[in-house]
């Protein structure tokens, strides 16, 4: 008779414990990287001050912050330019990648003929293609094309994978009920591929920013319409190292925000049904 009353008590105790433990773990997961960042900045500041390093070699964190505030009008304008290019490249990558995958899915011939070239475009370093593109295309277009080239492949390959992972029995069901090609695509293949597509888009977001930056550096255009990458190159020539750091910081933050936004969108869309978004409790 002893075991039955004995078991529920530790079980009941264990539950809140594991819950609070999990919450503590979540806090630690946020606090740890923040602590590392703070420590890194502190060490950076100390090294600069103790060694009397001049700002044109290595500016201290405070100086970078001041530059960020003082140069804000210029940097903000450049940030907007880069973000716009990234957005356009990303949109082109998303539309192009998904559309190509749909085409490949409908026609095997098309897939066999074109897929190798998609791979070639992907494996050729964009930094090497950019100067060529700048010769043949107007600059703004060339920059967007660069962002597209880098971004579209993950979307294409992920969407293709998703369209091919449709449940066989569900496909049979659609066949049984006489679904048209378009209905099968709309009600079966696209929803089934959605988690894969969103995964591809998440990668493409960061890559589009990289593509935009690479193209800007290759283009090297000055003036009011210059992006952050150009600011970095320009500041390098002028030994304005604090501004280089400030622009780099902005680029990093932009990349993090893009990734976070796409992850959030993906989570919101999938949270009701997909394993990846369900969390640990279920």
């Amino acid at each position: 008779m002893k075991p039955p009353p004995a078991t529920p008590i530790p079980a009941a105790k264990a539950r809140p414990k594991s819950k609070s433990k999990r919450r503590a773990l979540d806090v630690v997961r946020i606090l740890l990287p923040v602590a590392v960042l703070a420590a890194g900045i502190a060490v950076w500041g100390l090294v600069v001050r103790l060694n009397d390093i001049p700002p044109y070699v290595l500016p201290g964190p405070l100086m970078v912050f001041h530059t960020l505030v003082n140069d804000w009008p210029v940097l903000w304008q450049s940030l907007l330019t880069t973000l716009l290019t990234t957005l356009e490249g990303f949109a082109a990558a998303a539309v192009g990648g998904i559309a190509l995958a749909l085409l490949f899915n409908q026609s095997r011939w098309l897939e066999y003929s074109l897929f190798p070239y998609a791979v070639i475009l992907q494996v050729t370093p964009v930094i090497a293609i950019a100067p060529l593109l700048l010769i043949y295309l107007p600059q703004q277009t060339a920059v967007i094309v660069c962002a597209w080239i880098v971004g579209f492949f993950p979307v294409l390959s992920n969407t293709t994978l998703g369209l091919n992972s449709v449940d066989r029995n569900l496909a049979g069901l659609f066949q049984l009920y006489g679904a048209s090609r378009l209905q099968t695509l709309r009600y079966l293949k696209l929803p089934a591929a959605l988690p894969f597509i969103l995964g591809g888009l998440r990668i493409a977001g960061g890559l589009s920013l990289i593509g935009a930056v690479v193209a800007e550096i290759a283009a090297g255009s000055a003036g009011a319409g210059a992006g952050l990458a150009y600011r970095i190159a320009e500041s390098g020539y002028r030994l304005n190292i604090p501004r280089m750091f400030a622009a780099l910081l902005l680029l990093s933050v932009a990349g993090i925000v893009i990734y976070g936004l796409l992850a959030l969108v993906s989570h919101l869309i999938l949270r009701r049904w997909h394993e990846s978004a369900l969390g640990k409790e279920s």
Binding site: N169, L173, G178
Partner: protein, 271 residues
């Protein structure tokens, strides 16, 4: 709801054939002879089980009847009510797995056949509610498949098959993956549904007990390539329940059917 004319049309031929297979064989591209030759007649409104060892081609037979695959030779005939636009609507299929769309709610899963047939939304909603009520899931219309138990998912699958008001219900080992208690309950529910709706049911299973409990007729199949080796008529009250399950008659049928099935398994073991 179907109009009265359609109902009388169905009632007009209770003794007619719902499904008729003649000399049907199926050889897969890999060269595997899966089935036949098979001759099978199923009367309208009849509950027939196809019983056989795994891989004997009974699922293949079901897919041929559904039109999901084409036979290598022979003819498959499925009666079609005059008011049906497509053959698909006259057949409901329940797979071994629930085969639900994980991204859609229970209601939207059941709606699928009607949406594909472009049934107007108002009519579709009424039929979805009726189908969900039939399987006892009216309260779970807005749940997602992952929130349901295995038995409930199977019920959704059944509701989806019933929502087009098909003449023929094809079921491919639908309860094989469920625990015994859930399986008994679903068996009883299926029987009472069949009693009310009088669909033609072709039920594939590898369980002797399930086939005897449910069917009017049990067809025993041999190992691959599947052929009919024996046929049993189960003369028992149509309102079956625990009483029938524990009766001597039930045990007797099970024994006979098992005996007929045994050679199929021996053959299987020899290979």
């Amino acid at each position: 709801m179907p109009d009265p004319a359609a109902l009388s049309d169905l009632d007009a031929g209770p003794s007619g054939l719902a499904v008729s297979l003649r000399g049907v064989t199926k050889v897969y591209d890999s060269g595997v002879e899966a089935l036949g030759p098979l001759d099978l007649d199923v009367r309208s409104g009849e509950f027939v089980s196809l019983l056989g060892p795994s891989g004997c081609g009974k699922s293949t037979a079901l897919r041929l009847i559904a039109g999901l695959n084409a036979p290598t030779s022979g003819t498959v005939r499925v009666s079609n009510r005059a008011d049906r636009a497509q053959t698909g609507q006259s057949i409901g299929f329940v797979f071994q797995e629930p085969t639900l769309m994980p991204w859609a709610s229970v209601r939207e899963n059941v709606r699928l056949p009607l949406k594909l047939a472009r049934v107007p939304v108002a009519e579709a909603n009424a039929r979805i509610n009726a189908a969900l009520a039939q399987v006892g899931l009216a309260e779970f219309a807005d749940s997602f498949p992952r929130e349901l138990s295995g038995g409930m998912k199977m019920r959704v699958s059944l509701a989806r098959a019933l929502v087009t008001d098909p003449d023929i219900l094809l079921m491919d080992e639908p309860f094989a993956a469920l625990d015994e208690f859930t399986r008994f309950r679903l068996n009883n529910d299926l029987l009472s549904l069949w009693g009310n709706l009088r669909k033609t049911v072709i039920f594939v299973t590898h369980s002797v007990f399930e086939s005897v409990y449910l069917s009017q007729r049990v067809i025993v199949m041999t190992a691959r390539p599947g052929r009919i080796s024996a046929e049993f008529r189960i003369d028992a009250p149509e309102s079956r329940g625990e009483e029938f399950r524990t009766s001597a008659a039930y045990a007797g049928y099970c024994r006979e059917v098992s005996k007929a099935l045994a050679p199929s398994y021996d053959e299987n073991a020899d290979r």
